[in-house]
Amino acid sequence: MPCTIAMAKQLIDTYVAELPPTVQKAVHQSTAATTAKRYQLLGDDFADADALRKLAGSIRQHALEHLDTYLARAEESLTARGAKVHYAVTAEDACRAVTEILQAAGITKVVKSKSMVTEEIHLNDHLAKHGIESVESDLGEYIVQIDGDHPSHIVRPIIHKTRGDIARSFEREGLGDYNDDPETITRRARRFMRGKYLEAGAGITGANFVTADTGRLVLVTNEGNSRFCLAPAKVHIALVGIEKVVPSDSDLAVLLNLLGRSATGQQLTVYTEFINGPRRPDRPSGPEQMHVVFVDNRRTEVLASDCKEILRCIRCGACLNVCPVYRQASGHAYRSVYPGPVGAVLSPLLAGDKFQELADLPKASSLCGACNEVCPVDIPIPDLLLRLRHRAHEEHVPSPGTPPMAGFAILGSHPLVWRSAMTFGAAKDYLPLDKMPVPYLGSWLKTRTLPKWRGGKFRAWMKSRQHS
């Protein structure tokens, strides 16, 4: 359902205009279907899903506001169980920590499980530069990798690709003749990935949560790829954003029950893995070394900002699925690792001194509030978007596509001017407005009709009530 953007263009609009209608339709259908499944399941399973979302939000907010305590405790718990904990201030530091671990162990081949923070720090590019082969094992992420593309959705990275696109990529990569049957595509990936798992020296993962009390890294996947990354490999390296820490295992009861339902409409994701150390010496499989790299990469700046609530995010993608703008624009329009409403907040914040380049994203929203209503950790995304719009204004970021509001500001702040406008405004019913050289008005009226003037009626009504 392409919608005509009649206003002067914001940057995101140019992406919408270039998006093939087939992709737009696919994105719209699949996000709408997931939203419906989520809604159905939460309603079936919980008498008050809203209260649960708010509890989850409070768990996450508490963890963030005590992050100094919980992060140190998580480190202590992991270290006590034989894992090695590293800290990385910047993306470069995180990449360097990984290559140092791999080089020390003499490893040149790794397999990766899907992780947003590794996208954020461009780990694969860094490893390639250091002569380390890194293969994405999640089917969608693998296709993104061989195509030199970027994920367009947090949970469904190739929501923008058709089976034909994938079949052509597989043919090009020598995985078999052109065949666009989804089952054949999946079997070919299975066979190819088997070899990669068995020859890899290390498995690289992210983490959905880390519990401070027990040091458990929680990883959820549907494909089972994270488990495979951690079966034959000798070394496990987990890259974890510092904000992922929660106090204890019991908090996971709330968070895991909301994560699967919010992300894919599943009660639980197929594989939920809890890892807090290298394998014990008497066991035949599993990594002998476990490294956890806690990554800051500007998260502490976000924590210090007035948008810290965005760090509650558990990366379920529900706000993308429900967002009318994401549904029209798809993920690449957000020009960053995190698309959709969460991305419109997080991406400019993580951009640091490049804030200005992404400062238009918070305006790619009608502030309808649906993102907040579906958020499993109740992030007030519309409020945060407004705070970032304010920041962009304060920093004098140019704002193409925004109609000038100075005239309205005069009207709205001067009662006398307002009152006379209400009286004389009736003249507009007799003017050829669509032909007048008022910026934006002509294009706006192309798809809309103004109602007949009723200005001043409310004031008159109020006055009559006061007199009676």
């Binding site: 696919a26 699949s30 399973d45 008498a47 768990i59 907010q61 508490h62 506001e65 005590h66 100094d68 992060l71 140190a72 480190e75 590293h86 800290y87 990385a88 201030v89 530091d93 089917l139 969608g140 469904r156 058709t162 089976r163 989804p182 999946t186 990936a189 299975r190 088997r194 549907n222 494909e223 089972g224 790829n225 488990r227 495979f228 079966a231 510092i242 019991s250 996971l252 009861a253 709330v254 029950n257 599943q266 639980l268 994701t269 197929v270 594989y271 893995e273 809890f274 807090n276 290298p278 014990r280 035949p284 499989s285 599993g286 476990m290 806690f294 502490t300 700046e301 924590l303 210090a304």
Partner: protein, 202 residues
């Protein structure tokens, strides 16, 4: 490295210092996130069977059922660890059985049975641990994996299972077969892990 640690912790403390008060730890009552229909279910094993089946797991009520299914589905080579001999004593004459899991022959095993550490009735989930699983690959690489769950180890809810997480460096919950919907949202089972996830209840 420890400089990075100090820098990050200091930055966190500086970020949090201006807060007039910090969000207190919310009370999370046990079972607050249980599915509302859980209270009406009396029998853990029956609920587990229902939920596991709904998640796509094939539940076998007896070793005989399991054996017939393996036979009918022409599982040529079946891995059975020694620890399961009491459950699967009759298998050896009917299907080809191997007792050692060898990494060199990962793709030759059609089906593997491994002992589970427990299960969750609410979600139909199988719980595997390093302690219970002879080899992580054995429970993952074959097309068919059948976890052997003892009825008395079934937890009622997800919250109960979390409260009883064992002291094991690797615990994995399995709720159905490996699956993806990455290609045009079409559900395909058996991406990396088992295409058939089974569970033998004993």
């Amino acid at each position: 490295m420890s400089a990075a640690r100090e820098q990050i912790l200091a930055a966190i403390q500086a970020a949090l210092a201006p807060l007039p008060q910090r969000e207190s730890r919310p009370v999370v009552p046990h079972g607050v996130a249980d599915a509302q229909w859980l209270a009406g279910e009396a029998d853990n094993a029956a609920l587990f069977t229902k939920r596991a089946t709904a998640a796509g797991t094939r539940v076998f009520a007896s070793p005989g059922d399991c054996l017939s299914w393996l036979f009918e589905n022409r599982a040529a080579e079946v891995y059975l660890p020694d620890s399961l001999r009491d459950v699967t004593a009759r298998f050896a004459g009917i299907v080809d059985v191997v007792h050692e899991y060898s990494r060199a022959h990962v793709d030759e095993i059609d089906a593997a049975l491994t002992p589970a550490a427990g299960a969750i009735a609410e979600s139909g989930t199988i719980i595997l641990t390093d302690e219970s699983t002879p080899d992580r690959l054995a429970a993952l690489a074959p097309w068919t994996h059948i976890a052997v769950v003892r009825k008395e180890t079934i937890h009622r809810s997800i919250a109960d299972a979390l409260a009883a997480l064992p002291d094991d460096p690797n615990v994995i919950w399995v709720t159905g077969p490996s699956k993806t919907a990455d290609v045009e949202g079409i559900l395909i089972q058996g991406v990396h892990g088992p295409g058939v996830q089974g569970c033998l209840l004993v």
